[in-house]
């Protein structure tokens, strides 16, 4: 149990769990019951009548399947025990509200009790996830889990935040640089751990020769994958690509571009329900880029769903040019080494198509890159994984006990 002072309790509302039943007792990492609980949650979410219409909810449901969870588990070491830290406190993101569920799953799998501050912003998927979670936690079988889950909401209140941060052995901070800096102003236990998801920049690398040789069917498949990376989170996820880098000679790049963009625009026109304000925001961003960017070769507003801004060269300043809802920057390079001026610690995901993994690995090693944490084939940019932003989340949120 944790004693929450009345003046703190008065300032938050409880969404799931109860202060009186809440327990802080670390359990073992990857506990069978936790996995089974998350797997059941997955099944319930998939069965929800609206699941098929909500891609982000469906993605969460599939991610919570036992098989997927276990795929992230590293093999145990007989000389080590892994247990949770105890209490974890999570500041969940406002703009991808459903991410609270991933944050919770990681912390539970790491053997912790979890207090999550949810954003006041929500959406349908998040509401359904919350409701399903809350119902499942009422079942007697899951009472031990229920005692480790406490979801709250409160308007910005430094006293409440300070209280939980002073109690937490681990904290998970979503929401970017501004939130991280704000949270670091509060006192925290000396041995507490932190996972902080800062603002990141992501890009993709496409091999033009490969694409110009693909069959139409294969182009179509790739474009569907590419579509997911760009559009599923309105291109606003940290791992959504902002920049497309074409690798190849002039003629193959021209051909590859025309094939890929045309197909992508068609898929987006078909699948992406863009809102008026998104079109307007994109137009405003494009106009600002036209003025602020020093090296634009061409701007093409191909369709309401797709605007492309071709830039002549790339360097770190490119990272300040970000698009949403299908505003993509692109450039052309002749060899992968030309990527180097763009890479710093802010770069998170490099998704690729048609480029050999070994070529990219060689680039990472030979250029002393301080950034790029994930290298994934296109289509997987948004796939949440325990290894994220350079962290092993579950290991960070747990404690290793050596036993010889």
């Amino acid at each position: 149990m944790i004693l929450i002072p009345n003046n703190i309790q008065a300032h938050f509302t409880t969404l799931v769990g109860s202060a009186s039943d809440f327990h802080i007792q670390p359990t073992r990492v990857w506990e069978e019951q936790t996995i089974s609980f998350l797997n059941t949650l997955s099944a319930r979410l998939r069965r929800h009548p609206e699941a098929n219409t909500l891609p982000d909810l469906m993605a969460l449901a599939f991610w919570l399947r036992k098989a997927n969870l276990l795929s992230m588990k590293t093999s145990p070491n007989s000389n080590r025990l892994s247990v949770g830290l105890g209490l974890t406190f999570h500041i969940c993101p406002a703009n991808v509200p459903i991410n609270f569920a991933y944050s919770l799953a990681f912390a539970l799998l790491a053997g912790n009790s979890c207090v999550l501050r949810l954003s006041s912003k929500s959406n349908r998927s998040t509401d359904i996830a919350l409701q399903t979670l809350s119902q499942l936690l009422l079942e007697s079988e899951y009472q031990p889990i229920a005692q480790r889950v406490f979801l709250i909401r409160y308007a910005h209140n430094d006293d409440v935040t300070a209280f939980w941060l002073s109690q937490a052995a681990g904290r998970v901070i979503w929401g970017g640089d501004h939130t991280i800096n704000k949270m670091r102003q509060f006192a925290t236990p000396p041995r507490s751990r932190e996972i902080a998801f800062a603002d990141r920049y992501s890009l993709c690398l496409l091999d033009a020769t490969y694409i110009s040789c693909c069959s139409d069917d294969l182009i179509n498949t790739h474009c569907h994958h590419f579509y997911n990376d760009i559009y599923q989170l309105d291109q606003a996820g940290c791992s959504s690509p902002q920049l497309c880098v074409w690798l190849g000679d002039d003629s193959s790049v021209i051909e590859a571009k025309s094939r890929l963009w045309q197909r992508l625009a068609d898929i987006a026109a078909d699948k992406y329900a863009i809102e008026d304000i998104q079109v307007l925001n994109k137009f405003v961003d494009t106009c600002n880029a036209a003025i602020d960017h020093e090296d634009i070769a061409n701007i093409e507003i191909a369709s309401p769903e797709l605007t492309r801004i071709e830039v002549k060269s790339i360097n770190i300043s490119q990272q300040s040019f970000r698009g949403t809802s299908g505003l993509i920057y692109e450039t052309r390079i002749k060899s992968i080494a030309q990527l180097a001026p763009l890479i710093n610690e802010k770069v998170q995901t490099l998704s690729y198509l048609g480029v050999e993994k070994s070529t990219i690995a060689e680039f990472i090693y030979s250029n002393g890159c301080s950034g790029i944490d994930r290298i994934v084939p296109i289509g997987n940019a948004l796939n949440m994984h325990n290894l994220w932003d350079g962290y092993d989340i579950i290991t960070t949120l747990s404690r290793i006990v050596t036993i010889d």
Partner: protein, 361 residues
């Protein structure tokens, strides 16, 4: 100087008399001149025009004039005169509230705004200065450190009235002493009333209703503007506004105006038929929300506003975030020539996604 000759001509244009062809040829040649001016004097504007593709798939008479998104006045410093020529900088918080638009006025543009506004207002209320009631509090104008659109509006329109009386106290309650004195003094005479739409509604109409008081402001003409956004939640419609206003004040003649701080002066007056009218100095083009192409009359879209007045900043063709519908041109029942249209609100903000900005307010 040469431009003075030109401006005599510009401000001598008749507000609503020219038929389409005549108006277009005069307005477009003025716009072409403005476009050249801003291209040569405002580097960000030149860069924008040079980098952006022409967005019109089919060209039309106004396609040479790029619809500059109004939000760019927040993110960019758009100025076509040297800083020492700037006599006034207008600020407006506009939509998002975080950053402000900055509109740089020089002597010439500022004077033009006054002249053209005067042409439009006197066309409506006559050339004689009428006793004027302002539905606002005196401190809005006294406190010059907060020079807002409201201050600018009141000061601007006060030039067309005399014996200016403020109907509200500084706490925004009705000042009945002042109000009744004004009514008694000018009983039976034509009066001019000005106020911002939401203030007239919240602090005048609703306040009178709550106090169960009725006053007699018949023989008055009310001009109001500034947008409906702040009272949108109250579900106030145009006809609602007029009938409930008439019920408590007996004001029969009510004219709304539509305009943006980015195009002060060339405002769009509501005619007797209840539609906004373009004058000789202005035009609107309604653009599709998705393709941004001009739509057919009768269809909804984003309003692009054209003005012949902005010389000190590139505001002669801007894309607003307002939703409008063009109803026709030259054939409004009211008799005024020009494009007439309705405004139906503002584009809805979307659910935003992304990884940042959890804690910032």
């Amino acid at each position: 100087m040469s431009y003075e000759v030109d401006e005599v001509i510009l401000s001598d244009w008749p507000p609503y008399a020219w038929p389409k062809q005549q108006k277009q040829s005069v307005l477009i040649s003025k716009l072409a001149e403005l476009d050249q001016l801003h291209l040569s004097q405002c580097p960000p504007f030149a860069k924008l025009k040079q980098s952006m593709p022409n967005i019109d798939l089919n060209s039309h008479p106004f396609s040479p004039f790029f619809p500059l998104p109004v939000r760019l006045f927040k993110s960019q410093e758009l100025k076509s005169v040297p800083q020492e020529s700037v006599i006034k900088t207008m600020m407006s918080s506009g939509t998002s509230g975080q950053s402000v638009s900055k509109i740089y006025l020089d002597k010439r543009t500022s004077a033009l705004q006054v002249k053209i506004l005067s042409k439009l207002v006197t066309h409506l209320i006559g050339k004689q200065r009428l006793p004027m009631l302002v539905i606002d509090c005196p401190s809005t104008v006294k406190n010059r450190t907060k020079f807002s659109a409201r201050t600018a509006g009141i000061l601007g329109f006060s030039m067309y009235g005399r014996d200016i009386t403020y109907a509200l106290n500084d706490d925004m309650t009705i000042n009945f002493d002042a109000l009744n004195a004004f009514i008694d003094k000018y009983q039976g005479q034509k009066k001019f009333i000005f106020g911002f739409t939401y203030i007239v509604w919240l602090h005048f109409v609703e306040a009178l209703e709550q106090l169960s008081k009725k006053i007699d402001l018949s023989e008055s003409i009310l001009l109001h503007g500034g947008g409906w956004k702040k009272i949108e939640a109250n579900k106030v419609t145009k006809s609602h506004f007029k009938s409930r206003l008439a019920n408590v004040t007996a004001i029969q003649s009510v004219h709304n105006y539509y305009g943006m701080i980015e195009q002060t002066g060339s405002i769009f007056m509501e005619c007797k038929q209840g539609h906004f009218h373009c004058s000789s100095w202005s035009e609107v083009i309604i653009r599709d929300f998705k393709t941004l192409q001009p739509v057919k009359d009768g269809n909804l879209g984003l309003i692009q506003l054209i003005s012949a007045l902005p010389h000190s900043y590139p505001g002669h063709s801007i894309l607003s975030e307002d939703i409008g519908v063009k109803l026709g041109e030259d054939d409004c029942q009211c008799g005024w020539k020009g494009t007439y249209f309705d405004v139906l609100g503002r584009v809805k903000q979307a659910e935003v996604r992304g990884c940042s900005d959890t804690y910032s307010k």
